[in-house]
Symmetry: C2
Subunit: 219 residues, 2 copies
DNA sequence: AATAAAATTTAGACAAATCTAAAAATTATT
DNA sequence: AATAATTTTTAGATTTGTCTAAATTTTATT
C-alpha cells in the first residue's frame, strides 16, 4: 500500500513520540506536527481504518507493527538523504533537516536501496542517529547523555537532542558539533553547569540545558 | 512564490506542449496529464489568477514569461536528477523518468545547485535533452531527426522522441541507445524504412517510425 | 462526591484537486 | 446560413486535510 505525505508525517511523528512516551496523546501529536487536536483526531480515524495505529477514543494510541514498519521506512529515507546531503553535497549537518523532510517522501524503494549502496551502507546519519537497513533493523543507540558522562573521560559527540536553530547557533558559537571529542573537568552542583574541555581549546562552561541536549559515546 | 506539485506538473506540461504547438488547447493538456478537460479548465483559472499563463476562455493558452521561468526550473530539476540517477546510482537511462517525476518537486534551490556542482554541471540529461542552468539557459538542441541524416554520415544518437516502454524495448533489442554511433546505408522509398549500420555489427533495417523517434548529432 | 479544568472528539465549514453531466461556444459540414 | 459535431466551460459532487466552536469525556481539585 502507498501512503500520502501527510500520513507518512503523522506516522513518523507518532513513532518518535512513542519511543519516549509509550502511549501518545492527541495534544502531544498536535504540538509535534504544528496542527490542531481536531485534525489529529480526524487523521487517527483514518490511520486506524488502515490498521496502522491502535487507537481507542480518549485512550491515546500507538503504532501497530505495520505502522512501525512504515515509520522505519520513512526514517531510513530521511537519514540516508541527510547523510547524502552532508557527505556528497557538502551541506552542513545543521542545514539538512528541512530538505530531508521533503526527500523522505520519494516513494521508489529501488532509489533508496541504490542510494544506500552508493553511500556504502552508512550506519549513522550526520546527527548520530542510526539508519535502519532495508529490513528496518538499525544499530542500538549506545550513547549516553553528556550530563551522565563521568569526569575526565573523553567521549565523542554523536547526536544532538533537537534541531532547533537556537541550539545550533549555540553549538556553532562554542565550536561543538558531531564528532567533537569532549571531556568533563568539573561539575557545579548549584546550577548543574559543567566545565568541559575540547582538544586545542581552553576549558569553558556549558549550561545544564546544553549538556542535556548533547549525546556522546565514551571513547 | 511556491507552487504545488500539481501546479508544477501543469506548468511543465504546458511548456512541453507549447514548444511543439505554439498555442495549447484544453483537450491536449488533459490528454497529456491523463485528466479531464473540466479539471484543466479549473486549473487554468488558478494559473491565470497567478499570472503564470495567458489564457482567454475558449481561446487556448500559453505560459507567461513568469510561467516559463517556473517550467524551466522544474525541467532543470528533472533532468539533473535523471543524470544523477544514471551516473551515480547506476540506474538504466530507461528507468529514471518516473523517479525524476517525483524528485523534480523537491523545492530547495540550494539542493539543486549543489547537486549540479556535484555532478560537474552536466549539459545534457541521459536522454540527450539539454539541462537548463540556474538562470534557465540551456544549450540549443542542435540535433536532427535520424530520418533527415544524409547517407553515409556518421552521427551519434543523442535523444529519443518518447519514453514509452514499447520504444525502449525495441531499442534494447536492436542494441541502440544514447551515445550509439549510427550511419544510414540505404533508404527504401516504398515504406521509408532504412538500412543502418552501427560499428561492430552487420547492417540492419529500421522502420520509418523508429527512425522518427531517434535524434542524432552528426559527427 | 461534586465541581472545575483540561483533553479529546464531533459538527460544520473551507480550500485544493478531481470528477460527471449539462450548458455554452466554437468549428466544421451540409 | 443553418445545422451538426466538437471543444470548452460551468454546475454540482467528492475526497483529503485542515480549521473553529461546541459538545463530550476524562482528570484534577475542592
Ligand atoms: Mn516529511
Ligand atoms: Mn537526522
Ligand atoms: Mn512531476
Ligand atoms: Mn529526460
Amino acid at each position: 500500500m502507498n501512503f500520502s505525505i501527510t500520513e507518512e508525517n503523522y506516522i513518523k511523528a507518532i513513532y518518535h513520540l512513542q519511543q519516549a512516551d509509550g502511549n501518545v496523546t492527541t495534544n502531544e501529536l498536535a504540538a509535534e506536527l504544528n496542527t490542531k487536536a481536531a485534525s489529529v483526531t480526524d487523521m487517527l480515524k483514518k490511520l486506524k481504518a488502515k490498521k496502522l495505529v491502535n487507537y481507542e477514543k480518549y485512550q491515546g494510541f500507538r503504532l501497530s507493527s505495520e505502522g512501525k514498519k512504515i515509520a522505519l521506512g520513512v526514517i531510513r529515507k530521511h537519514r540516508l538523504w541527510e547523510y547524502f546531503l552532508v557527505e556528497k553535497l557538502q551541506f552542513g549537518w545543521d542545514e539538512v533537516h528541512e530538505v530531508a523532510e521533503e526527500l523522505e517522501h520519494i516513494s521508489s524503494k529501488k532509489l533508496i536501496d541504490k542510494l544506500d549502496a552508493f553511500l556504502d551502507y552508512p550506519k549513522f546519519d550526520p546527527h548520530g542517529d542510526p539508519i535502519p537497513d532495508s529490513n528496518g533493523k538499525m544499530a542500538a543507540q549506545k550513547q549516553i547523555n553528556l550530563i551522565d558522562l563521568p569526569l575526565n573521560e573523553a567521549a565523542e559527540i554523536v547526536s544532538v537532542g533537537s534541531q532547533s536553530t537556537e541550539l545550533l547557533e549555540l553549538l556553532k558559537h562554542k565550536h561543538l558539533g558531531i564528532g567533537t571529542t569532549i571531556e568533563i573537568k568539573k561539575r557545579f552542583a548549584f546550577d548543574h553547569s559543567m566545565e568541559v574541555k575540547i582538544k586545542g581549546q581552553s576549558a569553558f562552561i556549558i549550561s545544564q540545558q546544553l549538556a542535556q541536549a548533547l549525546f556522546v559515546r565514551p571513547l
